[in-house]
Amino acid sequence: MALFLQLAWLIPALPLLGCALITFTPLRHSKPASGWTAIALMLLATVLAVGLLAATAQGLALREGQVVSLAESHGAEEHGAAKEHGMGEKHGAFAFPEPNLVQRITWAPTGSSVFTMGLYVDTPVAAILAMVTITSTCIHLFSLGYMAANARQSRFFSFISLFTAAMLLMSMADNLLLFFMAWEIMGLCSYLLIGFLYERPQAYRAAVKAFIVTRIGDVLMLLGLVYLYTQAGSLTLGVKEGEIFNPAFLERIGAERGFFGLSHATGIALLLFCGTIGKSAQFPLHVWLPDAMEGPTPVSALIHAATMVAAGVFLVARTYPIFLADGGAALAVVAFIGAFTAFFAATIAVAQYDIKRILAYSTLSQLGFMVAALGIGGWVAALFHLLTHAFFKALLFLGSGSVIHAMEATPAIERLHHQDEYAAQQTAQDIRNMGGLRAHLPWTFWTYTAGYLALAGVVPFAGFWSKDEILADAFKGGHWIVFSVLVVAAFLTAFYMTRQWRLVFFGNFRGEQPVVFHNPEAPRKATHHADEHHDEHEKRHGIHWHEDPTMTAALVVLAAFAVTAGFFNLPFAIPGGHWLSELWGQEALPFSPLVAGISLLVALGGIAAGWTFYAGAFARASDGDPLATRAPGLFRLLHEKYRMDEFYQASFGRLVAVLALFWAFIDQILNRVIDGIGQITLFVGRFNFIVDDTLFNDGPDALAGGTVATGKNTRRAQTGKAQDYVGYVFAGVVVLAVFYLYVLRR
């Protein structure tokens, strides 16, 4: 067991090794070899992570290379300090868990001090690591089949391995700078993987959008980090002197005022929270996540559902003492943003046709649940929901991938594929074109159903327990607004998921005459070529439904977790109940039958409403949505996502373009000024030259020349003959006489 603590550093190192092996060795030339290498290393990391979780669950810890039991050494310096200063008493139930493992190295000198980097494992981290490695391994496995047709499958594995390494490293970071670095590398991987099919304009545009929109949150988070670093003198997690959760320090930043009359704690917390808004795609920076669905489906499952987008929630959870330090102002904002996003995204999901986009908006909404939970003090509930959501949402995405994979093999879409790959893929993702897939894809159907029930919140599936705990926290804390908004969002969740589930798996298959996606940027290709193929295909296959074994295996594993993950924190006082709360050292929330009843009622109500509302809808793919026929205006508004993208394009997009022009213009003016100064200098030079040349150059020259000429002429006058001189004297007298008579006398 102690071995797992000592080997913890291998957990992020193994996927990183996988990335390096696949990128730089000849392995990259073989798709299966690179895939299996990545999977094998992930499996190893999973074993280590689960072992680490077990070790921490036993209360084992590593102190100066010695394995000790935390239960016995309780009351030792750190934990004791936290308790004495009353973090727990003052701010409800929360106490920052004691670390099981801290390993640090000196990273960079900073004046008289040094910056240390290292790994930090406590029980929540161990749980996150286990979750990430398990889902990531499943998704690696799934990609083996799903991405097999892609020529760049090796590179795909290298990217998702790098991503996994970054996510694991972020979880284990012992300071917020390392946390941020890994966080940004995840952003890089997200960029690379959204734009994985980079021949498509939609893909690379979505990739740039994702990177830039999250970067807006990230730079504000960076400001939060430098703010915190300036105040605390370090970014190291922990409660000791000089570390960021030191009780005396928290008290100080909670009391002192900084900018705009906010306390330092509020300012730091809100800036950090901006990172969450970007990464976890909360309103108003949520716009990148639905577009991110341009990436291959395993990417959507891994990065944009289970792990990276949850990192924002993890950030708030990790820095929770700072959010608590200001007495609740920052948390109120957190709660508001989370609850609003939960509701807002759920309404949009109701009116989407794209199977992946529905899930994407659902992810937004569920992340909103987690963020809201943190905002109202439900720290355990938020992390619990993070864990369960990761399993069932990854499952749902992979299930949708399996569906899309099968849809792409149907004749109508294959035909389209030859003309325009992108349109074919979009058409394959349209739930209007599905229907009745239950019979054709049984494995997918049953696993998807498990994920669906978990998301809708039906007892005893995983989502029920964690969502119920969030609602119970809101209820217990008296946060009525948050509570009611979340209840409505939960209803909508059950409703839109039932709509999707029903349209995909029940009714008749409508894919023979699909609603074809109109691609405004369709590549111009000869189409006759495709028509030839089309007859051939139809004769050969009919519709050939198939489910890939590696893909199915991944679905089954995740489905098992979607069913059972809720049992890790059952709200009953039975053996094994409140397991996560106890593991994380937090006070357990007692079971509230009233809230559980409301929660279940809402879920069942949503399901019933969805089932009846869409009964008999979409006999053909081209039919309108029942909601669209009853409330066309509302449906359009929701379908067009409240036109947020258009609004941003028209406001910020245009502003940036105008500013670029403005600065280019300023540069031109500056250039003119510089050139003007140059011209003036040149002119002065010319003028100087002319003055020099005429006055100082020609003048003396002329003077000299004149003197010489005068001399010459004068010399000629010196003839030496007396009669000449007499003549000169006479002439002189005449001139003087004339001068005297006519000039002077007058």
């Binding site: 940004e184 830039i212 400001l223 670093y229 540069d667």
Partner: protein
Amino acid sequence: MDLPAYLIPSPDGVPWLTLLVLSPLVGILLVGLSAALRLDDRVVRLGATAWTGVPLAIALVVWSRFDPTASAGGQGAVQLVEKIPWIQAIRVDYFLGVDGLSLPLVLLTTVIAPVAMLASWRLSDRVKAHYALLLLLQTAMLGFFVALDFFFFFIFWEFSLVPAYFLIQLWGRENRRYAAFKFFVYTMAGSIGMLLLFQVIYLSVRQAGFPTFDLIALGRLGLGLPVEGVTGTFRDILFAYMEQLGVANALGRYPLLYTSIAFWAIFIAFAIKLAVWPFHTWLPDAYAEAPVAGSILLSAVMSKMGAYGMLRIMLPFVPDASQYFAPVMGALALVGIVAGAFGALANVGGDLKRLIAYTSINHMGYVMLGIAAAAALPGGAAQDSRAIALNGVMVQLVAHGLSTAALFYLAGALHARTDTWSLNDFGGLRVIAPTFAGVMGTAMFANLGLPGLAGFVGEFFIFRGAWATLPFFTALATIGLIVTALALLLMFQRLFLGPLNERWKGLTDLRPAEFWTMMPLLSLLLLIGVYPGPLMSLANTTATQLVAVFQRVLS
């Protein structure tokens, strides 16, 4: 000559710095010899490139002899010092030495020079002259970084313009005459103030009985540290001389006024070189019109001369005026950051080299911000914050040098294949040139400050240091982080993503030689990004001691 404790001569008695500065000159002689022997251009290329290994090796020796933690007399120790009287009449010494501020830049110069040589590999026109000029430029830059007497400092400073001018003028693009002329005259004109200032400085220290052009001694006077043979601070000495001249009676008896005039004379000279807004307009022209090797040396090393000058002269000589005008510097830095970022964005549909040039303006803005923050009020801000800002500046200088050199090199490689610089002409190259895209992508991400690569370390520590003294400028400077990222990503997109432009169907991917030219740069970027400790500890001691003066309110 008896040296004070803060000047440490070479431990083994070998004049390493002289060898360092002279080694490229020997290379020029060899190029000349090859011309006399009528050797083939290929031999010259190979020989000149191989010869750049000599300064690199000497620089590594210098590094190994350098003790980054040594400090004495209230400053980081200047090491491997060589000090010989040179012109007795005006007390000029031949004075070379390195400290934490110059050594990283010396190393950067010697690393970048081979890359510049390799970037000129395809040149076929007047090859020998080209390589001789590159070596000459390297000498001038190395000399600038190690010279500690103003006489030599200024000679190297001005002299570096000459080879750079001819490189642009003779091997540049269409608009090269204009660009070369502007670059040369602008920098030259900017340093007139500094030249005049040093005449005045010399006269005033002579008045105080301590005639010298010694930058270290003068810096110590400015910082208020004891110097043997003279009492009083730089400010007092300057003011006493002004009084004696009677200038103080005419202009006013404010000591700060005269240090302020000195400040502006120094600041403008270096700000032009660093391309601080609004003195930056020569830069896009010069970088864009220069041949690739010229762009690399100009952007990667020459612009750093400006920052180095500020750290070596401006902050120590006139700390009071630096502190007083820090908000102005911060504001100019901020405008430069924003203007550079948007300028890059405005070039997304235009010239690849101009775009990279504008990102340089943006990055040098961060450098300026860091320097301003190290000096700014309030005096109570932690000394560590100021030191962190300067450490960040040093990392940023090195990181930007490495990443921009890589970007310009790759832009040149792309141009060699396609004969166009316009970003509108590309598209989809990643399909046929995946390695090229990968390498350029790495350089680009290093440039835009992705964590794990060197650029981020510099930016993070600059922001961290600047937050303590100039929080609002720091907050607004983040706009630059977003917009530069956008511009570079759009650049990458226009080059590599989307459907392949049929024109470049037969384009070759990065050749092994090109790949191995880039590998050292990218490895260094990664190394510094993952573990910046060794680089930062070079500067840390010197920077920490330097900023101690700003702990007080000086004006």
